[in-house]
Symmetry: C2
Subunit: 449 residues, 2 copies
């Protein structure tokens, strides 16, 4: 179950660890962000529930082990001992860290994985992939939702990424505040609200009766209420036709053209036709910048549909979390903090956590400190998994719902400077949120090789 | 099987089509690129084999149908007729289009899907997702491979995207010329060569014996040959130690710091230690621009490892293929070309194909024309699927291999201007590859609504 969704080097290292007799030494890894990506003033952490389910379920099948035995470049280490290890492999370690839906204003460790060197190493790739994917989407979605200033934002980016990654993208966007998704599988699996009415192809398919016929037929098919797409040929004429297509029409969607100019015109046409109740949905390659500009110009959109921007996050396409060994037992069984020194990629050693201070309900600063320090502020860490078993018994749907609730509360604590949807790539120093690295962390002797 | 990996609106439209009695009308959709993304002078098409397997296998399970019946917003159309349709749903249509691995120098239709309006509509989301994902990765990988000027490029981006999307990203990168991947599942499933040796955590885990001990242990574990990571603490000292770690050491990897400066120093240290045979692998957030700069500066790297850039394609993060209805039968059963007029998103109607002219083995121009025109040049289209059955009997591994072979040949026909790895976002007019839209396509009456 997902065991080969890993990098080869995890298996090469496992082979060496087994040979050296250090595979079962206790180790602590941290999955963390070194710093915010450019173009981000805050992040939303997502993917944790799925990461934990992976840890609970990861197994090597006989077919997978047979494949590994046939690999010529693994031949040196695919001993009987390695095969036995893979057959019996379970993740039996402990995990703690941030809650899913947590908001970060700077670099911080996200998850701490404690277990044997072997088991905590081999799960690196999948854990990073899940957290990087879902957190990237959630972080972008939260910005888009903020830009919409209370107007609903629906995510519909399923076609823009690998189909298998679409349901989790939808889930992440929902956690960060989107009202729903177009992706049916996300509804099925995670309980994300799903909506969607028609595409341009529906309009074009009505070769016999044209736009009027298409609108009428669609409104008749959905007497309980629907939206109509008005820009297939001429947006304003389409709007007029939609306004007359009956009471089932609850909204019109404008998907092309100059949305700032069209918005007021569409509104006027609807109002003049006695349809003040009909909402206007704006789509067409939307993102937080465009939504911000549209609303600043007073364009009367009630809802936004956003695809590419949310699921691919083009201005910060890589989330960039990393997974680092921070502590490992030495030959006497004494835990030793470790950190690499590679220029630009140096990491802090030792078992750490994150503590946050608030003032008047607003987050004012984080401290990254050693677990042993227990500094002031509220710890953002919680226990996720003990001895390979998830602490929570929530279903995937329940976990999605509670992550969303947590996130929406956490977003309320965002400092105003971080809430700003700014085109600037860098945050002015005066508006930077302070993340302190404790002296104890800084002073930790770094192991030299 | 994957039936809910679709957008809700496909199901809403299906409900309306069934109600209107037009679901079984013959329709033709085209999956196409309108134009090249900015920052791209050519594209590599990938994902076709997987798209076809999806079409062959897509089914609705009873559990999925039950979920759809419970959805309040689909209630209006979830009739017994709709449930029966979903239960019996198979894709039974025809598909033709470009070969997997084809190279495009401009906008063109990629696949043509012919079937009933219902069946050809419902598969849109998955088809787009697969082609957009794999083609995005393949297009970026081909640039990176070109920049490396014959030096091997290995893809190791699995941790940067949803884990479920990693094997297909690896496959796409391999098709476009990478020599292999770190992603074990891509080897298992698609036969992509997999490699990988060790991470910084391996070095750090050696708290008792440090870098020397780690190198020695790893070289002993892989007497058949391996690479060592030399930048955990000090790259030059690490290189010297690696040079003395025995004949199993075939390469060193430099993963941080100023690679242009370090390259010659690492080479000198290896050579002075009598290890002229040891290769140097450069990694650290590589892309085609950095590789180009390193090689232009004469840095002696033999191989490159590239992760984020290949799998996320940050300079062109959305591939942007679309799926458009181009022809549909009217009530008399006469096929009618259709096209939308939405500003900036207008499409050409009619069943089209792509023909290419070559001169001296170099591609000199494409013509997008109606199938009925059959213009000069070699057709780039082939039949992929007839009546819902794939024409090819190749396994996934065989299809991956032949797509790669096809792609490497096609890349040899790239005009020099398109081969240039340029930082400029726009291609100068003098270097633009000509894609002609035939007069017949342009003259097609556009249906008005």
């Amino acid at each position: 179950m997902f065991s080969l969704y890993t990098d080869r080097y995890q298996l090469s290292m496992l082979g060496a660890y087994l040979r050296e007799g250090i595979a079962s030494r206790r180790a602590v890894f941290e999955l963390s962000m070194r710093k915010l990506p450019r173009a981000r003033r805050f992040l939303v952490v997502a993917g944790i529930d799925r990461a934990l389910r992976y840890l609970e379920g990861v197994r090597f099948t006989e077919e997978e082990i047979a494949y590994l035995r046939e690999s010529s470049s693994l031949r040196d280490v695919m001993t009987d001992a390695m095969v036995d290890y893979l057959r019996g492999f379970r993740f039996r370690g402990n995990v703690c860290g941030l809650r899913e839906g947590e908001v970060l204003m700077g670099g911080a460790p996200i998850l701490r994985v404690e277990g044997t060197l072997a088991e905590a190493q081999i799960v690196e790739t999948f854990l990073l992939g899940v957290i990087n994917h879902e957190s990237k989407v959630a972080s972008k979605a939260a910005r888009v939702v903020l830009a919409a200033k209370g107007r609903p934002v629906m995510e519909f980016g399923a076609r823009r990424l690998d189909p298998l990654a679409a349901p989790t993208a939808a889930r992440a966007a929902y956690i960060a505040g989107c009202i729903g998704t177009s992706c049916e599988e996300a509804g099925f699996r995670y309980g994300v609200p799903v909506s969607g009415t028609c595409a341009h192809s529906y309009m074009l398919a009505h070769v016999d009766d044209g736009e009027d016929g298409a609108f009428r037929a669609f409104a008749e098919a959905f007497p309980g209420g629907t939206s109509l797409l008005v820009d297939t040929w001429d947006t304003l004429r389409g709007t007029l036709r939609a306004a007359k297509a009956g009471p089932a029409v609850k909204a019109v969607r404008v998907d092309s053209g100059d949305l700032a100019r069209l918005g007021p015109q569409v509104r006027s046409i609807l109002d003049a036709a006695g349809r003040k109740d009909v909402k206007i949905i704006g789509s067409d390659d939307m993102d937080e910048y465009k939504i911000n500009a549209l609303l600043a110009a007073g364009a009367p959109y009630d809802t936004f549909g956003v695809g590419t921007a949310i699921v691919l996050s083009p201005d910060a396409p890589s989330f960039g979390a990393v997974y680092k060994l921070v502590e490992v037992d030495d030959r006497r069984g004494v835990p030793m903090p470790v950190a690499k020194r590679a220029p630009g990629k140096a990491s802090y050693g030792g078992k750490k956590g994150v503590w946050r201070a608030h003032r008047d309900g607003v987050a004012v600063g984080d401290t990254v400190a050693l677990v042993s320090e227990n500094p002031a502020g509220a710890s953002l860490y919680t226990e996720h998994m003990r001895d390979g078993k998830r602490v929570s018994t929530a279903t995937e749907r329940e976990a999605t719902k509670s992550a969303r609730e947590y996130c929406l509360e956490a977003l309320k604590t965002l400092p105003e400077a971080q809430r700003v949807i700014a085109l600037e790539e860098a945050t002015p120093a005066s508006e930077q949120y302070t993340v302190s690295i404790s002296d104890a962390v800084r002073k930790l002797e770094k192991l030299d090789g």
